[in-house]
């Protein structure tokens, strides 16, 4: 396998956008290509993540239309990836695999989503389509519901009073909004308090409104190429040191949903390939779709022991300057979660951190970064380790 690098990574602001998905990705894709000093004709393939285009805009098969709008050569294929919330990370991993294998030299990968044009109930319905359509979705389970059940199971398994766990969960939201307030691309750029979280409306017991990430619009694109080409394009190439991806079935098969076994499997592959351990990571963007999701993730990724990660934000272990800086972009929680674009935006944050370009939220001297994206109800997990 050839060494693979990221030459450039960009994202739109996340939030509410009037532009179409096609426009949003085209703009950010061209920005990425322009910043690299390249032309659309240089791109050899487009891997485009998108989940809900069929529902929000009546647009399936979006990739060839984006391809045309961007002026990519007809000989450079464009295709859509869909792995629920892990969509863009999976697109990036596949691009890196094919560049590594020598099939392509330069691939543009990323994703786009528009969710704010759906009503809350339709958005909730379409998100729930990523649960098992025969055995789980018909009982009315929602994504907040899945993580709410995980929170109750966590409290029971580790014998933590729910009221105490909820305060520590709220501290995760406080941390991520704090970093969101320092990120001009974030959907929410406002600090919040534990009290704000604990006084919000209940979405799915015990998750309240501010335990949940928002529905957002946005796009993000990453230019993946060889080490040699990346060095010509940029003074600060970022290298892909290790990757992993794993799959699991419905919650009825996973059973213990505090463990996220697919994440343990995927991250083990990534750590092994990179030859590093969790304690080597300086900065990590992980899948905090809900506050409890961050707690489950920091344990499954090996930063904290099982049952011991719940008070990490409270003890400031996951702030910059703590044990490991988690979600310095604001995470899905504050930066926003346009599902098909999320993974590429996580990669963008790590690229900025490793280039020392993260401004007010810079992790000083960050050299090794970790990307963790989870699709559906723990069904897909994709991890990428990046180095400066």
């Amino acid at each position: 396998m050839r060494k693979v690098a990221i030459a450039e990574a960009c994202m739109t602001r996340f939030g509410k956008h009037e532009k179409t998905s096609l426009e949003l990705f085209t703009e950010i894709g061209l920005t990425t290509i322009n910043r690299a000093g390249l032309y659309p004709r240089d791109i050899q393939a487009l891997f485009l993540g998108n989940c809900l285009g069929g529902f929000g805009e009546g647009q399936a098969h979006m990739a060839p239309f984006v391809h045309s709008a961007m002026g990519l050569p007809m000989s450079s294929p464009a295709m859509r990836f869909e792995c629920a919330c892990a969509t863009a990370t999976v697109a990036i991993r596949n691009a890196a695999l094919l560049v590594g294998a020598g099939v392509y030299d330069i691939v543009l990968a990323g994703g786009v989503e528009k969710t704010t044009n759906l009503s809350t109930s339709l958005a909730t319905r379409t998100f729930a389509m990523a649960s098992h359509a025969q055995y789980e979705t018909p009982v009315g389970i929602t994504f907040p519901g899945v993580f709410a059940m995980a929170a109750h199971m966590y409290a029971d398994k580790y014998n933590i009073p729910l009221i105490e766990l909820k305060k520590h969960m709220a501290e995760v939201a406080v941390k991520n909004h704090y970093y969101g307030s320092k990120n001009l691309k974030a959907h929410f750029q406002k600090e919040i308090t534990v009290n704000d979280v604990l006084s919000g409306i209940m979405v799915a017991d015990p998750l309240q409104l501010l335990d949940c990430c928002p529905f957002s619009d946005g796009a993000s694109a990453v230019l993946i190429t060889t080490e040699e080409k990346a060095k010509k394009i940029t003074k600060k190439p970022i290298y892909i040191a290790g990757m992993g991806q794993a799959s699991a079935g419905g919650l009825y098969v996973q059973q213990d949903i505090t463990k996220a076994m697919a994440r343990k499997t995927a991250s083990k592959q990534a750590y092994l390939e990179a030859g590093i351990k969790p304690s080597d990571i300086d900065v990590c963007e992980l899948h905090d779709c809900f506050t409890i999701a961050e707690i489950i993730a920091i344990e499954a990724l090996g930063f904290f022991k099982a049952g011991k990660g719940y008070d990490a934000a409270t003890k400031r272990h996951t702030y910059i300057g703590g044990k490991v800086a988690i979600n310095t972009s604001g995470g899905l929680k504050a930066k926003g979660h346009p599902i098909g674009a999320t993974g590429a935006a996580q990669v963008t944050e790590i690229v900025e951190q490793l280039r020392d370009e993260a401004g007010k939220r810079q992790v000083e001297g960050a050299k090794i970064g970790f990307v963790d994206t989870m699709g559906g109800d723990f069904g897909t997990v994709c991890n990428i380790i990046l180095t400066a």
């Binding site: 009503s119 809350t120 109930s121 339709l122 909730t124 319905r125 998100f127 729930a128 389509m129 359509a133 025969q134 055995y135 789980e136 979705t137 018909p138 009982v139 009315g140 389970i141 929602t142 907040p144 519901g145 709410a148 059940m149 995980a150 109750h152 199971m153 409290a155 029971d156 729910l162 409306i201 209940m202 979405v203 799915a204 017991d205 015990p206 998750l207 079935g249 419905g250 919650l251 009825y252 098969v253 059973q255 949903i257």
Partner: protein
């Protein structure tokens, strides 16, 4: 390879309040709801069995903001059947607002109800859980 228990047969069993499951010939683990291979060892060799309709609540939530087509609040739970398999379904017969952590570990009887389909799905029989009073 022909399925030992199709989705349709499983649906019929729920409708008739008889729980059908698959016992693995290799490792004896039960796979319920059915799928092509054993959830534990991956074997394709199963014996179809009728199983007990009793279980224990492992976790739950009260859905208060629901997807199109559902009327909140309602309780969703995961229940472990006697054979070690987990089912997702709705706890019925208690007020959603009364649901709390004490539900976890409680025994339930598993029945089924028909959920009307919508634009994207057909009518489906799903598990419901009734508390067994001690």
């Amino acid at each position: 390879m022909e399925s030992k228990l199709t989705f349709k047969q499983y649906q019929n069993s729920l409708q008739e309040n008889r729980f059908l499951g698959l016992e693995c010939k290799n490792c004896r683990v039960y796979t319920i709801p059915p799928q092509a291979v054993c959830r534990s060892c991956g074997s394709q060799e199963f014996i179809q069995r009728q199983v007990s309709n009793k279980g224990i609540i492992k976790t739950f939530t009260v859905i208060r903001i629901a997807a199109d087509g559902f009327k909140p609040p309602f309780i969703v739970a995961m229940v472990e059947m006697g054979q070690g398999a987990y089912l997702m379904g709705n706890i019925v017969g208690i007020e959603p607002d009364s649901a709390n952590m004490e539900l976890i570990g409680k025994k339930v009887e598993i029945k089924a109800k028909l959920v009307k389909g919508d634009l994207y799905s057909k009518d489906i029989w799903t598990p419901v859980f009734e508390m067994i009073s001690v």
